[in-house]
Subunit: 244 residues, 2 copies
């Protein structure tokens, strides 16, 4: 899987808040070749102190909590270009674990810690972009609550696919309405709080209706508009725009 470049990361941050040239250089300097981890590796353990912010430069991960009963709940999918352990509190303890779904690479960007801490006196634009990124995380967590609390099986799958597409598009990791999608139906089941069998039938339904094709490590959204109206994802998108 391709590793993101400093240019990718810069353009993502630029889309959140305009960066000064010096700030863009800071980003370039920080992004070194990533450290590889195998699928299943725990990148951040719930309850343990966060060492400092990192960027996922390649592969997919998820933020998750395991219940005493062994059941597992996923809070968010972490995509290339996303931050892990970004927090404005110094030395916080992680509220959830972050686990690699595929083989991944992460890059330590502890150099961003002072930027976060100093509240934009230093590198104002970068601080804006980082806090906005974390605000978007929060927004997506609310989306997840809506998915789990209010949406039917087909709405959940549709809305997740739309979210993944729009996030990957920002990183330039889509081809039109298609994209690499390494989640198995089992992953989707855990993420969306439904059974594997039911995910399977829902995916088949989307296919039969000509709405989307999901499988073989890829997803293609054939009818994004119908998917959007189906899943009320557009409301979410509107909310994103407002989240300044």
């Amino acid at each position: 899987m391709r590793e993101i470049t400093a240019a990718n990361l810069k353009s993502r941050l630029q889309s959140l808040s305009p960066l000064q040239d010096t700030e863009a250089d800071v980003v370039s300097d920080l992004l070194k070749p990533g450290v590889p981890h195998p699928a299943g590796a725990v990148l951040l353990q719930q309850g343990e102190a966060v060492r400092g912010p990192r960027v996922l430069t390649s592969g997919w991960a998820w933020r998750t909590r395991t219940l005493p009963s062994g059941r597992q709940q996923v809070f968010a999918i972490v995509l290339p270009g996303d931050f892990i352990g970004l927090c404005w509190r110094p030395n916080p303890k992680a509220l959830s674990s972050t686990v690699a779904i595929t083989p991944v690479q992460t890059c330590d960007v502890a150099g961003l810690q002072p930027v976060m801490a100093q509240k934009g006196d230093l590198h104002r634009g970068l601080w804006e972009a980082l806090t906005l990124a974390s605000r978007h995380d929060e927004m997506r967590l609310l989306d997840q609550v809506v998915r789990l609390g209010q949406q039917s099986a087909i709405e959940r799958v549709a809305s997740l696919m739309l979210e993944l597409h729009s996030r990957l598009a920002i990183m330039g990791m889509t081809e039109g309405y298609g994209f690499q999608m390494p989640l198995t139906q089992e992953h989707l089941a855990v993420t969306l709080g439904m059974s594997l069998v039911h995910v399977n039938r829902t995916v088949q339904l989307l296919r039969k209706e000509g709405l989307a094709e999901i499988g073989n490590g890829r997803a293609t959204l054939h009818e994004p508009d119908r998917l959007r109206s189906l899943s009320s994802f557009d409301a979410t998108a509107r909310a994103y725009a407002e989240a300044v």
Copy 2:
């Protein structure tokens, strides 16, 4: 409904992080008699700029989002002593609406804004307490995801009641395992993402099993331990302790 006092709020913040005497005084000075709002009043509108932090001093509210279909999802219950619109970003836009469930009173504490912004150079202990409070909000949002994604009807109701009890206990608003609980079964249904009828049957089941009594504006947890093991809320409690 009784309005909280400065002493209540101080002891809550103290429980998060020790406060200096001067800091405690700051809190006392800020907490004036609350502004009343009727049930149903929108305290904070999604998408609108947050004017500044406020404290809910009396009554209950919820953070919620309304979908285009008219369906509604609740993210959190806001209890007396909780902050509304607390954010370390200056002038953020609200990600969700906050609406009064009962008649409420709110007190403007815009005076805390500089404390948040200055990262604890000023009033270190207070800053600690405030950021921890917001971290606990985040943790409870994760709890809500788990409830909606992984738990059965009875587990959801049990876990919500335990959460409410433990939060109210910190504010001194419980009598043993009983407390004032103004949510109707309709409120519970919206909050827990289930139908009114199903909530009703679940509440009856809890009563029949002798686990808890819910209704008439009160809740009593007869067997908190069994409720805890039933709902895996203890795991949550452990996680709370870790969230430093």
